[in-house]
């Protein structure tokens, strides 16, 4: 019973703050609202008995990436005249919500035909030890390739954000 209540509360918070993220005018409000979405998705990961992904989501996504975005927004010193003024924003958002509804209903109905399985919590299923054993036995090569990708992204960010460039 408690798990159902937590699931409903977390999913409502995630949906409402995601809608707030796409409808706020100021980017800083959008970022704060998106952090709430990420944290509630992290809670859903914990309910799906994957504790390591929960920790990674809280530390890397909500902690590192989002604070990097907050830092960049405050560093850019955005004034009101720099923000695009969108007079028909509510019309665009509601119109595309209506346009996306058939696609969503199709996917939801397709998902309902999957075999139903109750999402009870298993002890030690997604723990650090289990995930680490899987990661360093079957997935070593993708893991090393991810490290090369991160290095390339680091170099690209340094080259792009250098001072003497003109577009």
């Amino acid at each position: 019973m408690l798990v159902e209540l937590i699931f409903i509360a977390l999913s409502l918070i995630a949906l409402i703050s995601a809608l707030g993220m796409i409808s706020f005018h100021q980017p800083i409000n959008s970022v704060l609202s998106f952090i709430v979405t990420l944290l509630s998705i992290a809670g859903l990961f914990a309910l799906l008995s994957s504790s390591f992904i929960f920790i990674v989501q809280v530390i890397i996504y909500a902690g590192a990436i989002m604070s990097l975005i907050l830092f960049v927004i405050m560093f850019l010193n955005i004034k009101e005249k720099n923000i695009p003024n969108e007079p028909k924003k509510a019309l665009w958002i509601s119109g595309s919500l209506i346009a996306i509804t058939p696609f969503t209903l199709l996917l939801v109905n397709a998902l309902k035909t999957l075999p139903q399985k109750e999402a009870t919590i298993i002890n030690g299923f997604g723990s650090i030890e289990a995930v680490g054993r899987e990661l360093f036995s079957k997935w070593v090569l993708p893991f090393e390739m991810i490290s090369i990708l991160l290095l390339i992204a680091l170099l690209g960010a340094i080259v792009l954000a250098k001072k003497e460039q003109n577009i």
């Binding site: 998705i41 975005i69 924003k89």
Partner: protein, 108 residues
């Protein structure tokens, strides 16, 4: 009673909200966060599938997606800083260097 497919339905709803954000907004920071929201919805589907079949492979895939999102965040923020330094705007309609020959008027 909560089934695993309920988590996937929630992920589909979040993915649709992300598509709506990409289609209907012009602020590039909101565009970036909508893309991140779609990545997170896919992550939620991966983790729910891992719970459904009780296998850990899809959780590793979710970890890879988080690492790729971190790399994407670094590059995207560098591009935002570069564009804002040159054009003084966050409007996606202003950045038309590759699309049009002359600079269009900003419709404010």
């Amino acid at each position: 009673m909560i089934f695993v497919t309920d988590y996937m339905i929630l992920a589909v709803l979040l993915f649709s909200i992300g598509i709506v954000g990409v289609v209907s907004r012009r602020n590039i920071i909101v565009l970036y966060m909508s893309i991140e929201l779609m990545l997170n919805a896919i992550n939620l589907i991966f983790v729910a599938l891992s719970r459904q079949f009780e296998q850990l492979d899809t959780q590793i895939a979710a970890l890879m997606i988080i690492a790729i999102a971190a790399a994407e965040a670094a590059l995207f923020l560098a591009v935002i800083v570069l564009l804002f330094r040159n054009r003084r705007s966050l409007d996606a309609n202003v950045f038309t260097l590759l699309g049009q020959r002359e600079q269009p008027k900003n419709d404010k």
